[in-house]
Amino acid sequence: MGKAWTFEDNLNTDEIIPGRFNITIDPLELAKNVFCEIKPDYAKNVKPGDVIVGGQNFGCGSSREHAPIAIKGSQAKCVIAASYARIFFRNAVNIGLPILECPEAAADIKEGNDVDVNLATGEIFNRTNGRQYQARPLPQFVLKIAEAGGIVNFLKEHDIQELMA
């Protein structure tokens, strides 16, 4: 169970973490400034298990990996959005940040709602209004990468072939 933090359509990587903070790739350092300009209270108040809810084209802009790293470093459980920018999607998968695509949930969930997410099945339950939404379940390989904490960690322990096995 976690609290929802909601964001607009076309949220770009600079709004997730402004370029001037990208001199580090340490997740906890980046997390200190995540969303600092558009939601300054997020970094202080986010709790492990909270979820980020975005609109269309979440994470557009630069191809830098700092944006998903910063969100993951903030201990958010996952991102739910109507759609994602392509490179953000790949980067999020590779660094092990679970991202769900669900336009219904993205449109319906309000800031502060209590939300439960089952990553394996894609079920999203909004405790505040009692509604349930269904995202496409994440592919197995994405869950494996997320479980290992990112593709770099996955490769330390496994052969890449095991991703698709």
Partner: protein, 415 residues
């Protein structure tokens, strides 16, 4: 059976694949440059495994080369040390990465080539799959030789007709960007075809996949034909036989038909690539710099168009006109054929090869309040220096006409 991307991926996977499937594929080449290699080296050390196949790695110094500052110099030093330590055989500082990849024969029909650069889409001009990725994925591919891909849906852009004199591939592509918008091709493979595309030489074709990045596409593809294979056989060291992979009973998400015959020259205006106007509407705007360069339009034929238009004339004395050939091969040919002499005579500055002013590191940075007209592929705010500068994108011919006038001008009056 399928779209061009489904056909290319099916061959790699060894079985028929369809849009929506996720595949783990062998990659033929893994490209990175001075901007993106340092982070990949860090991820590589983190993984702690050896390189899978050194001959698949191609490294370039082009984004800020020769180094304009200490930070760039440190990056180059780090990369050169890595190349020596690992004994990597393919290392270049002979021009813009994408141009050198094509010239040196790394990109062949059906190949899967990934790059830590968003314009790796360029390789689609040879009927190859090319896509840009983050640095971590590059390191993953170094140690595994593989990369995962979701097979994309395809938008087919069917281009027909004959372009008028003074209208080039760049004008047509800018028009497409304006029509589709910056997210018009997101996640999609954009297939360019039709009798217009088939009639174009390679240097013009490259513009379309190169700028497919600007409409958000995962890749931009042109099916290989006799023109492609002739180019590969005569202009590159690539060894055949080459297969002409074509779409077979494709199912497209969308087909867009464009007749190019009535199209006028086009300009992408400040501050977005899809802020497109016909040239007539911006003629007369004062310009402080004309920049002819980049992986989009600094090939030999582009420089030839400019030199032919400037021959025996002088560019506007208050306009900086900078020409950065995309590669050393292009530079040498232009020198041998007297084009460089013509450009210098006309008052242009000709720089060394590489990305040059494209990302505002060196070689033509803009001051606040200045306006540039360039042959680049994107005009994001601040890209060439000051965030208070404006960037307009156009063809090499429009750039040459503008260089003479000191304000945006129509090349059709000079051709």
């Amino acid at each position: 059976m399928g779209t061009l991307i489904e056909e290319i991926f099916s061959r790699k996977a060894g079985r028929p694949v369809q849009a929506g499937e996720i595949l783990l594929l062998d990659v033929d080449y893994i490209m990175s440059h001075d901007n993106t290699t340092p982070l990949a080296i860090k991820a590589f050390r983190d993984i702690g495994k050896p390189i899978y196949d050194k001959s698949r790695i191609v490294l370039h110094l082009d984004h800020a080369y020769p180094a304009p500052n200490v930070l760039a110099a440190e990056n180059h030093k780090k990369i050169i040390e890595f190349v020596r330590e690992q004994g990597l055989p393919h290392f270049y500082h002979q021009g813009v990465c994408h141009q050198v990849m094509i010239e040196e024969g790394y990109v062949t029909p059906g190949a899967v080539v990934i790059g830590a650069d968003s314009h790796s889409n360029t390789y689609g001009a040879m009927g190859a799959f090319g896509a840009g990725l983050g640095s971590t994925e590059i390191a993953v591919a170094w140690v595994t030789g593989k990369c995962w891909f979701k097979v994309p849906e395809t938008i087919r852009i069917e281009l027909t007709g004959k372009a008028q004199s003074g209208v080039y591939a760049k004008d047509v592509m800018i028009y497409i960007a304006g029509m589709m918008g910056m997210d018009g091709g997101t996640y999609r493979s954009v297939e360019f075809g039709g009798d217009y595309i088939e009639s174009l030489p390679m240097n013009e074709r490259i513009v379309f996949p190169n700028m497919s990045t600007e409409i958000g596409a995962k890749c931009g593809l042109i099916a290989a034909d006799d023109v492609t294979i002739n180019y590969l056989e005569t202009q590159t060291p690539a060894k055949g036989p080459f297969e002409k992979i074509v779409p077979v009973n494709p199912r497209y998400e969308r087909v867009i038909q464009i007749d190019v015959s009535s199209l006028a020259p086009q300009v992408s205006c400040h501050p977005d690539v899809d802020h497109v106007k016909p040239l007539e509407e911006v003629v007369g705007l004062e310009v402080h710099e004309v920049y002819i360069g980049t992986c989009t339009n600094a090939r030999y034929e582009d420089i030839e168009i400019v030199a032919n238009m400037l021959k025996g004339k002088k560019v506007n004395p208050f306009t900086r006109v900078i020409v950065t050939p995309a590669s050393e091969r292009i530079y040498r040919k232009a020198m041998k054929n007297g084009l460089i002499e013509i450009l210098l005579e006309a008052g242009c500055t000709v720089t060394g090869t590489g990305c040059g002013a494209c990302i505002g590191r060196h070689g033509g940075i803009l001051a606040a309040g200045e306006r540039a007209l360039t042959t680049m592929n994107r005009n994001f705010i601040g890209r060439m220096g000051s965030p208070q500068a404006e960037i307009y994108l156009a063809s090499p011919a429009t750039a040459a006409a503008t260089a003479l006038a000191g304000k945006i001008a129509d090349p059709r009056e000079l051709l």
